[in-house]
């Protein structure tokens, strides 16, 4: 006799945006196992069409509050390429510093506030305030410092202000950067090491599940790729970011307002685990030691361990942020004015590793510097097919367990991807036809 199972989780909690988990099994045959994306579409192309290049990053950062910095930086890079705007070495360093801050912020938020309650059998972080006050305070301290990097360097952590095409409207002072460096060394590094201990104690609650899949992330020769690099697949190796459409192949499915993506097989995974699998050799020794401590191995195919890969990566971001500040201060901060004189009007493509995976923006500008065409491909959209494939393998493996246990495993699976559903739905794929 085969099993019957019906699971419907409406508006899954502790994820960004609105998604439903739907599973149906009849007489042992899995009829459906998928994440329905029910987020309201926002139609960003209506906002971008005809807008000045000054506004593109302001608008696309509003696709998502959590990923606003990533959208902004990617948008600026694509605009600068399209308009032939060169940026200074200082601008690139400040942007890399911002990405480190945003990555730490997002990874810490996910690991402590969204994922950890599951490891402790709680519905939210709030009961932990009473039961584990030191842990909650540590998480808040790490998040505060990560956000302070955004506040100091970009004017505001959510929807940053000062990064504009060609540079920054305000350069932080040496004193501000020195203070960030001091706190990174004195607060963030010890807090990171304590986080590794905490996660090690909780890691037993992470399900043991494996499904061989394709991992895609950026990769570059000289550093752990976040700001830029080639697109790198565990199946087919490296291609330049201009080939991004071939590496994503978006398509519409009825159960999701967000489009799905595929590259070399039915699905692939992006995000911290993909970065770990592709670029672990570029991590700093502290992060590698943390990975060893947490049992994270290269070639890891357990998607639940994405949360652990996020923690490991946060250490690298903290230490590299210190190195970047040292370089900025060593070179001497220059009060540069943004370079906003276009040298051409064309198409630009940019790719950035944001916390949830590779983010692509592409714009074409007309001769007035207004947006003529735009395309954004968001990490969560790229992961959706992989999540569905994971569910289809997971459900038959755990079908002997109670419905509550199966539901929890499915919820934890989706949360492990740290999906950003607002982002994924608000994608653009538009060529305006005049």
């Amino acid at each position: 006799m085969g099993a019957n199972l019906d699971i419907k989780v409406r508006h899954l909690t502790r994820v960004e945006g609105h998604g439903d988990i739907v599973v149906n099994m009849r007489d042992g045959v899995l009829e459906k196992a998928q994440l329905d994306i029910v987020e309201a579409p926002r139609y960003f192309e209506a906002m971008l069409k005809g807008r000045s290049f000054h506004e593109a990053a302001i608008i696309t950062s509003r696709i998502c509050g959590i990923c606003s910095l990533g959208h902004q930086i990617t948008s600026l890079k694509a605009t600068e390429q399209a308009l032939g705007l060169e940026v200074s070495a200082q601008t690139v360093l400040l942007r890399k510093l911002l990405i480190h801050g945003a990555t730490i912020q997002s990874n810490v938020l996910h690991a402590y506030f969204l994922a950890a309650p599951d490891f402790l059998g709680q519905g939210s972080v709030f009961p932990l305030v009473a039961s584990h006050p030191e842990v909650v305070k540590r998480a808040l301290r790490m998040k505060r410092l990560a956000n302070d990097i955004g506040d100091v360097v970009s004017g505001r952590a959510v929807h940053p202000i000062t990064p504009v095409p060609g540079g920054f409207t305000r350069i932080p002072t040496a004193h501000e950067l020195q203070e960030l460096k001091r706190r990174l060394q004195q607060e963030m590094v010890p807090d990171f090491l304590a986080t590794v201990e905490t996660m090690k104690a909780l890691a037993g609650a992470i399900p043991d599940f494996t499904r061989e899949t394709e991992f895609i992330s950026l990769r570059c020769d000289d550093e752990y790729a976040l700001y830029d690099g080639d697109i790198c697949s565990t199946d087919t190796g490296r291609v330049p970011d201009s080939e991004y459409r071939r590496m994503t192949n978006e398509y519409v499915v009825p159960h999701s307002t967000s489009k799905h993506a595929r590259a070399n097989r039915s699905s692939f995974m992006v995000g911290a685990l993909a970065r770990w699998n592709n670029n672990h050799d570029k991590l700093c020794p502290t992060s590698l030691a943390a990975a060893a401590e947490l049992g994270l191995q290269p070639g890891c195919h357990n998607p639940y361990l994405n949360t652990i890969a996020q923690v490991v990566e946060a250490g690298h971001c903290a230490l590299d942020a210190v190195a970047i500040i040292d370089r900025l201060l060593g070179d001497g901060l220059k009060d540069e004015i943004p370079n906003q004189e276009p040298t051409r009007y064309g198409t630009g493509i940019a790719a950035t590793e944001v916390p949830r995976g590779i983010l692509y923006h592409e714009y074409t500008y007309d001769r007035q510097g207004r947006v003529a065409a735009a395309n954004c491909i968001i990490p969560t959209g790229q992961n959706l097919a992989n999540i569905d494939d994971d569910m289809k393998k997971l459900v038959p493996e755990v079908i002997g367990q109670t419905k509550a246990e199966i539901t929890l495993k499915l919820e934890m699976l989706v949360r492990a991807y740290d999906p950003c559903i607002s982002c994924s739905v608000h994608l653009l794929d538009v060529n305006f036809i005049e």
Binding site: H11, T13, R14, V15, E16, H18, V38, A40, P41, R42, Y43, E45, A46, M47, G50, R51, S52, E55, I58, I59, R62, I63, C64, G65, I66, S68, F113, L114, G123, S124, V125, F126, V129, V136, K137, L140, R141, K143, R144, N147, G155, R156, A157, V158, H159, I161, T162, V164, F168, T169, R170, V252, P254, T257, S422, H426, L428, D429, V430, F432
Partner: protein
């Protein structure tokens, strides 16, 4: 008060950046939790509650499901606070309202557009009674704390109704317009302490308009600063599409 106020937080169509800013109260979060019980917050917790003393609602309304849900929230909430400009004016989402809806749907989903129903993006106040507003894109934490503190103390929060320029002058900033840039400060409602001009950027108007804005005067200033009239209107529209007439 015999029991702590029961607070719930909801999100509709938006980027959830305002909610995220609530999780970013690293220094105050534990104090806030000491004064209220958070009984429902999908982004952060599993629990779902029946009724609330205060509901904070983020996002604009843009699908039939949104309309149904906001009525439900209103029925259960004693006080309803619109959180962020999407909830207060429709925000950037409302820009799509300036174009024919079928055209917009086709551009994004092509022939699959019928899979996903959509409506013009509306502020909460277009559908239910809103008791208080916290503006901004994103809302500022300082302003949220002011409104939050007032409500917990049983007082009525006061919303500023003067232009960002007032706060900008108080901060002794060099006028953005004098620096050769454009700025929407003269018609944009204050409350942000003129943060963007203070860090070198122009005011993009993210808090919505003052109650009696001089739009013609603002357009003239923008044209004087090098924009075409069309471009000037587009800039003003970014956060005010539902408020500006003829914004087509």
């Amino acid at each position: 008060m015999t029991r702590k106020p029961r607070v719930a937080i909801f999100d509709f169509t938006g980027c959830e950046g305002c909610e995220l800013n609530q999780l970013n109260f690293e220094d105050q979060l534990l104090d806030i939790l000491a004064h209220v019980d958070i009984v429902e917050w999908r982004e952060a917790m599993d629990d779902r509650a029946g009724e609330y003393d205060i509901a904070f609602v983020e996002g604009s309304l843009s699908t039939p499901d949104c309309i149904k849900r906001i009525h439900d929230v209103r029925r259960r909430a004693k006080v309803l606070v619109a959180l962020g400009t999407c909830a207060v004016t429709g925000g950037v989402n409302a820009v799509k309202n300036t174009r024919p809806i079928e055209e917009v749907r086709e551009e994004v989903y092509g022939q699959d557009k019928y899979l996903f129903p959509t409506l013009p993006a509306l502020p909460l106040s277009a559908v239910v009674k809103v008791d208080h507003n916290v503006r901004g894109c994103p809302m500022t934490q300082i302003e949220f704390l002011k409104v939050f503190t007032a409500l917990v103390m049983g007082k009525r929060p006061i919303e500023p109704d003067y232009a960002v320029c007032v706060e900008c002058k108080l901060r002794e900033n060099e006028c953005v317009l004098e620096r050769g840039m454009i700025c929407l400060g003269p018609v944009t409602r204050a409350g942000c302490d003129a943060h963007c001009p203070t860090v070198g950027q122009y005011c993009i108007g993210c808090r919505g308009l003052v109650s009696e804005p001089n739009i013609a005067g603002m357009e003239e200033i923008l044209v004087d600063h090098g924009l075409s009239l069309d471009d000037a209107r587009r800039r003003l529209q970014l956060y005010n599409a539902n408020q500006l007439e003829g914004a087509k």
